[in-house]
Structures are given as structure tokens and as C-alpha cells.
Symmetry: C2
Subunit: 319 residues, 2 copies
């Protein structure tokens, strides 16, 4: 059974890890947002790709969800001594990823090739694909500062500015990375992870051909909104700033005709009837992933849920 | 009294440090080779500038002469895990210099401005200037591999290939960095440090206007050749590969009409008469700098030696 997960950073990485723990019963592909990639100190930094890879490899910092565990910060400390910017917390181990990725890209390798090589080194069995090998840059138009690139908004300004508009620079020219459309086409189950719909999932869906492929296959989304809030990140704040009340219903409307089903937290069970009356299948369950067992349980529940839609496509094993 | 030192890496840095220890009685400018600068992992690396600055700041690794003391190598260890190149030994503290330099250059700052800022942070009182803000790349044509960029030859191949030719890419367009010609013009003493004449000093002398300015002022050179050998680096090997017997005489002939004097090791005293008969002033002394005291002593001896040439330009203090 082929499962493809669309993921941004920490939340998406956790659910992708849950599905990875279901291997080898399933064949897993993770398509990752690269809209918040940026260049810093001359290095190409891909925050979501790294978070997904570190998480799948068991290398992630369990406290933050991003960055590496047992990390040191000697380089950044010395950058700070030189008066350089330290708002983006680059650890020493993490820096090695950026250095070697930058070197390989400058040699002409595609980002997807670099990711594949790193995954192999790190013992990752899932196939991890950037949404595109072409540069896409998420920009947010803020009331306070005008247009900011995403990391500037997200990390440096800690998501405080009020968003008025979001744009994905380069998206018109961006083609899906090799294997992306094929993975979606061959999927028995496409899962939109509980990542930020505005800035983690929307860039992926905006790459040429991806939304229409999902449209024809249909996906299940996991709501990142729980009781009008998010566990992490500015998704709920963004809904409000866009004039939308954040809820699982808003998430379902966001993805609209791409979905056959929505997974939401059991705390939001009150929205079940509204959602079901719109013709969507709904699973209300515990969606907060506090540990590895939670990740695995949620992935298994989604696999079982998808069996309700397509009883014949499930593997023999009972999840 | 204004002293200007032309320096490459470790040997030049040590003598520059000796003169720095004579401050504030003298005003010191160090003009540093940038011909072996290169880009690695997307970062601009300036080995000679960093060696000079680390040495002047007391931050240099006393064992190697290059790199920083109390250094860690966590980033490079992880780069190695990813299959990346580890032949250039980038320490964590050293990497911070390259990151912040690359960032400032990409912002449009000149290399000389970046160096000035770093020197200020590191408490360096001497004025350290790159020979040029324009890129110059030393290339060596080797019998075994054809043309190699300098770090490839010097570090990766450990100077083993046989040199046939040396070229400085970009030298025709390179202008002296701001302050370089002025420092030389205002110098009471110009010292060519015991750096490699072929690949550390020659690039500096090849920048437009520098050799002719020194030609009119005249300099004293310290021979890096001692008993046909060097303490470090391939200078002696290069002389042989170029068909020249390495000796203080060869060094004096190398710099030719730029010199009023030559400082050589007392072990080479036998060459004194040959050199003096060519009309050059000669100082034979202990030139091997094993500790800070040796650096200071050599600098003081050169200051006293220069008094023999220009008795009126010395500061009152007795060296």
C-alpha cells in the first residue's frame, strides 16, 4: 500500500514519522514544503526538509521538534562575537547539513538528489521528496513591515506581525521534483499532515500539477487547528488575520474539493455534523502527538479510516 | 614611525606579530596575500588573512600556526558523515569567521571593510589590509594534475605535485585595496615577511601599482629559505622545480630591485659577501621564530637594521 504524506515542519514531520513506523507494511513517500527555504550566510537552508529528515532519522531535538538532538552551538556563538545575526539558531551538527547541501547544489546536483543521498546516510527508509527542485520563496505581506521573507517573519519576528497577504515567489516556474506526481498518482492514500495550511501545505499545492493530481485522487487532511488554536506556529493567527474563524471546518474548506476525509481532534467533535453534511468523511480522534506511540497510533487510525473509504486497498495486516 | 609588512600565512603572521608587539612605538600596517582565498561550501575562505588576524589577536593555534586555538570540529565531523570533503580542516570557531565574512560580502561590504570590523572585534591594533578587494586566485600548473587552484595543491595534495607554472587569475583587474598604496607611500620601513616568495608575496607584488610603489620606496625582505630549506611550506621545493637553487641569494634575486636590504638566518652567513657585493644591505641573525620573544626580537633587530639605512627615521626608543 502506497502512502504519500504532504508535510511542512514539526507537525508534519511527526505524522510522517508515525507512518514511517508503519513500514514495511506500507510504502511511504513524504513530499515536503520548500517554500520556507532560504539562503543565510551563503548557505542553502531547507528548514522543513531538515525537520522531516531529522525526525524520520531519530536525529531531531525532542524538545523543539526542529534542529538536532545533542546539538552544540560553537559556530553561532562565534558568529555572535563577530556581530553577526544569531536569530536563526544554527547548531553545529545542523550546519554540516547546510554546508554539504550547498556544496552539492553548487556542483549542479538537484535538491532532490541531495535529499536522497542524505536520507541514505541517515538510514531513512521512506522516500523524502522536496515539492520542487526549483526555488520557491514564501513571502508574507505584513501590516508592520511590508513584505518579509518567511524565515524573517517566522523566526526573527516570531510571527508577531499581522499578515495581509501571502505569495510564493517563483511558483509559476516551479515544476514538481522528479517522482512527486508519480508518487501521488500511485498513492492508495494521500495524507495532508497537520502542518500550516497557509504557508506549509499551500506552497506544495501551488506547484504546477500537484493540486490537480490530488484533486483526481483525493486526500485526507489532518486539522492542525484544535479548539481554535494550534500546538505550534501561526496557523490559527493567520486564519484570524485573513478574517476566517480557525476550526476544522475552516481547514476542510481550505482544502475543499481535494479532500475525501478530514481527521480532527476529538476535542472538536462538535464540528462533526457540519463537516459530514458537506459530504466529507470525518475521523475524530486524539491528534496531539506527544510521543512516538502517539505518532504511530494516529498514523494507524488514519490507515484504518482510509479502509472505510477503500476497503480493498488495505494491506492484510490489521492496524 | 610607519612600518608596513607584506605577509602570507604562518611565517608572515609571526613576523607581523613581532612588529605588533613593538606598538605603540611604531604604527603597523600588514598587507596580506589574498591569492589563496577560495570558495568552499559556498563560503569565502581567506586563509592568509585569517592566519594573520588570529595570530595578531592571540587566537591562533600555537601548534599549527593556522586555525584557532581551543578549536572544535563538530561541523566537519558531521560533514564527513554526509560524505562531504574534509581535506580542508575547518574548525567550528574558524567557520564562524567564514560564515560572517560571506554574509557581509554578500551584503556588498568590501573584504577590507570586513577585515577592519573583525580586527576591531578581536582587539587588533595593527591595520590589516587585504592586498586587494578584487578576487585574485593563485593557480599552479602541475606536471601530475595540470592546473590546480592553490588550496587544492597546498592542502588537498599537500604540495606533492611538481609545479611548472604559477598564475594569478584576475590579477590584471585587481586594484590595491583602499589604503594599501597610501600605507606603502607613508612607510618608513617596508618589510617583506619570510613568506613564500612565489605564492604568498608575488601575488601582492603583482597587484597593479604595488610593486612600483615599493620600487620607489625600497623594502627589506626576510628570507624564508634557511640552509636551502623552509620551516614550513613548499618555497624551497618550488625554487628547485623552477630550476633555481633555494638560498637567501635566490630570494634577493627574486625581489631584485625592490630591496635595500635582506635579512637572513645566521646559518646562511656564508652568503653575506655575495649579497653585499650586489649592493644590498645584509643582516644575518636568528630568524626562526619559535615563541613570542623570538618574534619580538626579530622585529626589533629589523627596526635597528633599518636605522643603519635611515638613521633619522627611527623613533626615539632604543630597540
Amino acid at each position: 500500500m502506497n502512502v504519500t504524506v504532504l508535510a511542512g515542519g514539526v507537525g508534519g514531520a511527526k505524522l510522517a514519522h508515525g507512518f514511517a513506523l508503519c513500514q514495511p507494511e506500507i510504502d511511504l513517500t513524504v513530499i515536503v514544503n520548500t517554500g520556507d527555504d532560504f539562503d543565510h550566510f551563503g548557505l542553502r537552508i531547507c528548514p522543513d526538509l531538515d525537520t522531516v529528515c531529522y525526525t524520520l532519522a531519530g536525529l531531531a531535538n525532542p524538545q523543539t521538534g526542529w534542529g538536532r538532538k545533542d546539538e552544540t552551538y560553537e559556530v553561532l556563538r562565534c558568529v555572535g562575537e563577530l556581530g553577526g545575526p544569531t536569530w536563526f539558531r544554527l547548531g553545529d551538527k545542523d550546519l554540516a547539513t547546510h554546508l554539504e547541501r550547498t556544496r552539492r547544489l553548487s556542483e549542479g546536483q538537484r535538491l532532490s538528489d541531495v535529499v536522497t543521498a542524505f536520507c541514505s546516510t541517515w538510514g531513512i527508509k521512506a522516500r523524502v521528496l522536496p515539492m520542487s527542485d526549483d526555488p520557491v520563496r514564501t513571502m508574507v505581506d505584513t501590516r508592520e513591515y511590508g513584505w518579509l521573507d518567511f524565515q524573517n517573519y517566522f523566526v526573527r519576528h516570531a510571527c508577531r506581525p499581522t499578515i495581509q497577504k501571502i505569495a510564493f515567489e517563483g511558483i509559476e516556474q516551479a515544476l514538481p521534483a522528479a517522482g512527486v506526481l508519480e508518487a501521488l498518482e500511485d498513492s492508495d492514500l494521500i495524507v495532508i499532515a497537520p502542518s500550516n495550511p497557509w504557508v506549509s501545505i499551500q506552497p506544495i499545492l501551488s506547484v504546477n500539477g500537484i493540486a490537480s493530481m490530488i484533486q483526481s485522487q483525493k486526500a485526507v487532511a489532518v486539522s492542525p487547528i484544535i479548539q481554535g488554536q494550534t500546538l505550534k506556529g501561526p496557523a490559527a493567527k493567520m486564519y484570524r488575520e485573513m478574517g476566517i474563524e480557525p476550526s476544522p471546518v475552516a481547514v476542510a474548506q481550505h482544502y475543499s474539493t481535494l479532500l475525501w476525509g478530514l481527521v480532527m481532534d476529538e476535542l472538536d467533535r462538535g464540528f462533526e455534523s457540519t463537516l459530514m453534511s458537506s459530504g466529507i468523511m470525518v475521523l475524530s480522534t486524539q491528534t496531539i502527538m506527544q510521543n512516538e506511540q502517539d505518532r504511530l497510533s494516529l498514523a494507524r487510525e488514519i490507515l484504518t479510516f482510509s479502509q472505510d473509504r477503500n476497503p480493498n486497498q488495505m494491506p492484510r495486516r490489521e492496524f
